[in-house]
């Protein structure tokens, strides 16, 4: 018998019991689709986290004062700008920030972060200016009251109006808007990254915070690879410059590294993906046991049929090939439909995450389902095909 004939027999066998064949395929379909989709969801959320962190800037270090007020003084900031001791540091941006209420023509908006810093802060914090321009070093030196506002602030205070060139009031002081920042994705769900305003350091100190210590210093390294070196250089300088109060065991400052954060987060995301994959794997396994069960029942139920076929002169090989072809067709068809379902499903946002298909999960899920179908289709078929025709015929 030719291969084509065997395939035709297999198709006829599948068609002879449509409900059972359909249910078997459904089991495989769900298992395969679940694995692919859940892994895709895990992968998608990992990517999203990575993108958010990259938006923070992976070349920067943030030095934050902890506890005491007078830690990050102008002298410390000055010291960090040292081409000899800290060659990997390209810019140092001292930051003061406070909450403030902005007013424009009677409209109030409480901004979460009113930041005072240097122009280098825009690059270091990965906040490019969209319309208008950033302020300059000259503005900082002169203490000019100019401000660059975030997208949320622009929408709240200037609905339908071009904000650049307008003047707004911050705690009684008049600031001129010179630019609007590009839309930024929120790093965390709790804070709106677009709800901020950035002004020259001197202007903010003069009008809002006073001339105290800085809240933080943002240090930019030359490249992502230089961040680790820059970090050790910065911590060396800080350990020399910052006085640790007697009796204190912890340092009065903390250095945060975005790429470290990225690493930790992507590790977390990987764990998440593995967990989802494991859950999906279990569902595939359960689906597989379903296939096994149906295959076993199918073949056992058809032992008599196998006996008839043998009595009519079918060799063992032909019977085995027929059952293998049936099992393969069922699992391939089910698996294929599962892949299709997963591909369609990946176009939708699932629990707030846009799934990103991992190609290897498609191959793996398909292979596992076919392997299960083949193995558990062939074992009972082989057993039945080995029987003497009379034993198979008598089988009840």
């Amino acid at each position: 018998m030719s291969l084509f004939e065997v395939l035709r027999f297999a198709v006829r066998g599948i068609g002879a019991n449509k409900l059972r064949s359909g249910l078997t395929m459904l089991g495989i379909l769900i298992g395969v689709a679940a694995v692919i989709l859940l892994v895709a969801v895990g992968n998608g959320s990992a990517r999203e986290v990575a993108q958010r962190i990259e938006a923070l800037g992976t070349k920067t270090l943030t030095v934050q004062g902890v506890g005491g007020d007078q830690v990050l003084t102008p002298a410390v900031a000055q010291a960090l700008h040292d081409p000899v001791l800290a060659p990997d540091v390209t810019s140092v941006s001292p930051v003061v920030s406070t909450q403030a209420t902005l007013t424009y023509q009677g409209t109030d908006h409480a901004v979460q972060q009113f930041v005072g810093s240097y122009p280098s802060y825009f690059g270091a914090s990965n906040s490019p200016v969209g319309t208008g321009s950033a302020f300059t070093d000259d503005d900082v030196a002169q203490g000019r009251r100019v401000v660059v506002i975030g997208r949320t602030v622009a929408e709240e205070l200037f609905p339908g109006v071009e904000p650049v060139g307008k003047e707004l009031t911050v705690s009684g002081a008049l600031f001129t808007v010179v630019g609007v920042l590009d839309e930024k994705s929120s790093a965390s769900g709790f804070m709106d990254a677009n709800d901020l305003a950035i002004a020259p350091l001197t202007a903010v100190q003069q009008t809002l915070t006073g001339y105290g210590a800085y809240n933080s210093i943002v240090v930019e390294a030359g490249s992502t690879e230089q961040v680790a070196d820059a970090q050790s250089q910065v911590s060396l300088i800080l350990s020399q410059r910052v006085h640790v109060p007697a009796g204190s065991t912890s340092q009065p400052y903390r250095i945060q590294n975005a790429s470290q954060l990225l690493e930790t987060q992507s590790e977390t995301a990987d764990t998440f993906t593995t967990l989802l994959g494991a859950v999906a794997g279990i569902s595939l396994l359960v689906g597989g046991i379903g296939i096994t069960n149906i295959m076993l029942v199918t073949v056992t139920e058809r032992t008599r049929e196998i006996g008839i076929r043998k009595a009519l002169g079918a060799p063992r090989r032909v019977i085995l090939t027929q059952f293998l072809a049936e099992a393969t067709m069922l699992s391939l068809l089910g698996g294929g439909l599962g892949v299709a379902a997963a591909l369609i499903g990946s176009h939708f946002t699932i629990v707030g995450v846009r799934p990103v298909i991992v190609p290897s999960s498609v191959a793996l899920a398909l292979c596992v389902s076919v392997a299960i179908g083949l193995f558990f289709g062939s074992v009972p078929a082989n057993r039945a095909a080995r029987l003497r025709p009379i034993d198979a015929l008598r089988y009840e």
Partner: protein, 231 residues
Amino acid sequence: MTVLDVRAVTKVYGDGAATVHALRGVSLDVERGEYVAIMGSSGSGKSTLMNILGCLDIPSTGRYLLDGVDVSRLNDRQLALVRNRRIGFVFQSFNLIPRTTAVANVELPLAYAGVKPAERRRRALVALDMVGLADRAGHEPNQLSGGQQQRVAVARALVTEPALVLADEPTGNLDSRSTEDILRIFDDLHAAGRTIVLITHETDVAARASRLIRLFDGQIASDIWQERILT
């Protein structure tokens, strides 16, 4: 020429206290073209003998030669070939493949013989026509009466044109009219020179054979040539 040559065949089922001696040394020769009926009470071993003759089962001891070939020396492939080409088997319980049309059932032995689909379909329809079921070719077994199912089974046994036709109580489940249909087909086959061995309970069925063998308790009790009585 001897078609069937059975020499001191025994068949034992089970072991220990549950041992059943189905056959206790049966020897038998059947020549080409003979029409043999085997009778015997339930448990006399006639079905066991038939299964061995049809290569569906193997004897515990003794030898069975089909057309001079010792069946016990054949491997699975060769046995399948023998069942397919030499023997047409008709079962008491029809044994059609469920949810498969009559013509597809009849085609099955031809498919295993490697006959091309178009030729297969033609020969299957001829065989169905021979048993008077050409108009039922597209029906599935559960849409056919018992007599019709058995005629499909006979068509399936004949479609490969085997030299030997074995029938295990082919009329056991049928009414008298269907029985007559089936027996007429066997008469035609006998007239065409085929060798026929059939098992029956009914004396009027046995009366149409040219030779009558009675089995009792796993042994041949009598073996006589008789005048065929045609109704």
